[in-house]
Amino acid sequence: MRVIIGEDEVLLREGLRHLLTSDGFEVVAVAADAESLERAVAIHLPDLVITDIRMPPTHTDEGLLAALRMRARHPSIPVVVLSQHVQRRYATELLDQNRGGFGYLLKQRIADVTTFTADLRRVAAGGTALDPEVVSVLLARATRASEPVGSLTPRQREVLALMAEGRSNARIASTLFLSEKAVVQHTSNIYEALGLPVDADDHRRVLAVIRFLASAGDERL
């Protein structure tokens, strides 16, 4: 899988490159700023882009803006955005394009190599990967503001959170020490409670859940 990395911090960039290479990814280019990242993407048309949010010259949010532009320009290229701090707004901005193939994770998640590379592969396949911290913010807001979310059982909310992170049923089952069958039962109950249509496609189903959570929290107090 051909990957391009956008990261201005040399040690982290090389660490990522090493991690990805040893896990079977092919790093075709690295960039230290948003502009050269976008150029490299246009040239190589990779299978996945990983970018830091803060990059030179302003060290604000140019990595995210570049990610949003790339998703508009090359809809088929998935993007994973990394950051030291995650917040709901950036997640919803990535979500606004109503397509899978994006990830938004804390940088610290890199260290959990197995989970991280699994997230990358899922995103590359058109899925999503939302950091648990963002999901917890989304879920907390939705629980307070939305009647159906508030009425879920704690166990259902745990399952819902893992779904929103983009986890597969098998992973949810292993995380929560449940049988996959029990997870399927929970998910169908959740879909029913939230009034979401059941979709055969896993990625689209997850996207629908995230969108539901993001908009549920926007209901006025």
Partner: protein, 622 residues
Amino acid sequence: MIEPNTSGGHASTDGAGPRDNTVMTEVQMLGDTGEPPPMPEDVRTRPLARSIPKRLRTGRGGSLRMALIVIAMCAVLLGLVQIAVGLGNPTLLWAVLFFTAVFWIWVASGLLAWWRRPDNALGALILFGGIALYLAGLGNTGVVPLVTVSAVFATAPLAVTVHLLHAFPSGRLRGRLSLLTVGLGYVASVGLQFVRVVVPTDAPVAFQIATLAQQAMGISVMIMTSIVLTQRLLAADRRHRRVLLPLFGYGTIAVLLLAVTGPLVRALGLDANVAGTIQLLLSAGIPIAFLLGVLLGGFTRTGELEPLSAWLGLRGATGPAVGRALARTLGDDSLRVVYWSEQAGEYVDELGIPVISEEGALDRGWSEIRVENRLVGAISYDARIIGDPAPVTRAGDVLAIAVDRERLTAQLLASNEALMLSRVRLIEAADRERARIAQDLHDGIQVQLVLLALAAQTIANSPEATPRTSDASAELRRGIDEAAADLRRLVHNVLPSSLTERGLTAATEDLVDRLSIPASLDAEIDDSSISATTTHTAYFILAEALTNAVKHSGASSVRVRLSREGENLRIDIRDNGVGGVSLNQGAGLRGLIDRVDVLGGRLTVDSPRDHGTRLIVDLPCV
């Protein structure tokens, strides 16, 4: 409602209320040194007379009035005495009455002119003319010593009239030629007349010489007078010429006619009474003409310096109001006050615009204002209208106090401004330091923790690792992740990355998102229009207030509204908690008040017990 006085300087801008109307207020202001000087507009809209408390409009004005009344009474009495004496000489009683009437006209005109312009000697001069006329008319009473006195002063009114012509309108003689002419006039009309009267009747030659000398001198005086008056007419502007021309014309013709009527009438063989009548009628017109000149010449009644100084002292008035007040007091519309700018080395007006010095200009008087020998300004005035520089100098002394006070006020404001700026710089320095710390942590230790965790996990995943090593390394990685999470929170508290990356709205949104109670945010602001210092201050206030709402108020919901109110950013935070919040409790908000104060903002807490808390903060955007 608790309203801390966030800043003396800023809070007072809308506290201009008590500067109106009553005497009490004006007097109270004496002690109120903190009051800023009134705005020029404030003073401009009100005439000076009204802004001077009535109580202060007394002093010299009152005593002058008393003096003039006494003079008027004396004049009436003198006239009555003359008439009473004249009753003993019935044949010339009509002449006595006539003289008395004309005397009274002179006195009345003189008093009126004096009253209208207390600092102008013209009124006194007219009065003096009246006395000369009175003395000249004493002869008609038929009382012997008085007849002699009358003979000596018979032509004195002529000299006084010449004096008046030269002294108009200021009341002072300007130029050597004028002084000489007037002096000669008095010598001819009184001095030589005296000689003619006292020369023994057995010395006709001496009498003849005196008469000839008197005539020659009289003609010279009139020629010189004509020259001087013509020059003045030519130099005068149109407005003044309208007054000067008829006055000079009448005055000159009157003097000439008065001088020649006697001989002319005699030559025509008419009765001497005819000459006397004509002369009296002519001379009656003289004071009236000068009085009209004073009244029609645009010369308003001048004021007193005492109330002016009181007014300046009380109000600390400066700028255009001072110039106008002074012009009014001294009765010269063309009067200007200019200020000496030490930086520019030139005179400037009250707005700081350089003005051309009128020092030494034709007909312009120039009086410098000094404070302890330091030049602070000057008064430029019309020397034709204000003949005596003394009141201008006195006015300058009065003004010097006000000007110096303004200088001191400006210095104080400047140092206050410097202090404010240094406080702002301190806040900005603290903010920069926070940003630097956050950036250092972000670039340095946070990255290192990612790499350390990555290394630990790599060991854990390594095929060579024993299960124990693998477990221990995975545990180590989780520990490092936890440390990283703690660090993340620390960095967030120092300066949230969203504030740096996106601005106030995004950072506030993140803050509200993470609250444990339902919270709503309503933000209608343009983040880019708000300065970094204000953004930081606003964020810390929001963070502190929201923390308090969750921790202490027991609120079940909180609403945050960010809006733009004119030049200000308004933060409005409302919760439905227990209320009773005081700014004096706890260090959290107290510390933020200082920040608000430095930025010139305003912080209001409304927290009735059991009715929630509302915190409103206004901060200047820039």
